[in-house]
Symmetry: C2
Subunit: 149 residues, 2 copies
Amino acid sequence: MQQPPHPIQDAHEQLRQRGFRLTPQRMLIMEVINVFHDHISAEQIHAAVVARYPYINIATVYRNLHWLLDQQLVRKIDVGDGHLWWEAATEAVHHHLICERCKAVQAIDNHVVACFANHVAEHYGFAVNIAHLPIFGLCTQCAAEEDAA
Amino acid sequence: MQQPPHPIQDAHEQLRQRGFRLTPQRMLIMEVINVFHDHISAEQIHAAVVARYPYINIATVYRNLHWLLDQQLVRKIDVGDGHLWWEAATEAVHHHLICERCKAVQAIDNHVVACFANHVAEHYGFAVNIAHLPIFGLCTQCAAEEDAA
DNA sequence: GTCCCTGCAAAGCATTTGCAGGGTA
DNA sequence: TACCCTGCAAATGCTTTGCAGGGAC
């Protein structure tokens, strides 16, 4: 009786065949990012992995994040708050509204942005990375408070 | 014979009346930013001022940039390349297409973006800071090269 | 043996902060 | 006197890098 292929094991096998190794550290980092359905910082990833594998070093986390980025398994998000955020490439494409006053980050879906990206491509021949569009401004509440002041 | 008010001197007078001082350092920083019709980094500003006033410290530049931001005399631009860029608030509103491959930054006018900002405001009640919308992606040339590879 | 990968420690780098002193009102 | 502002030096905080060692193939 033949089993259907297991997608995660398949992906792992492909990585192995390209000469990469799936060390415990690397597997744990990948798992943390995939289970956490939101953007997560390198330090948070490190803390989460340490809980299960105490000797992992933060440098290993950073190195693997760049490796995962090269493999297109994660996306890198810069919201300009001093650290980078990361999320699994399997998450639905979405965007971030970053309030410059209260620093809140709100995720929005791709609808409006996709339309905008098309316009930029048409007018300027620039291929917008719609997986990474940080939108700065003021959230509803802060905009109201600024007006009041 | 009455002279028309001098706009820059007026602005300076207003700042003085609010209790601020217009030190040589501060004036030079403001001048460098206003004369340089593009975004400029803190370090570039420092270098430009040093040429005329050798003892100014980089900390003074940073402190004054934040002060100028408070006074809404400059805009701060984060293109995610490790430093912040600054430009005079008198520059026409425009935006930056940042190529994630060759790091080139291309300025584009406000037309397409203003339209997009309206949509975000309508849908999410979020007031996009259209003076600060870094648009990441691939420039025409790099997109072509990526396709070829 | 070769190459990938890790831990550790140190370095990098833009930016910020503490502190003492100087200048202006 | 009070307050603004500066220079200097040190600190900050995230991220990167050099190096030696360990393990897989």
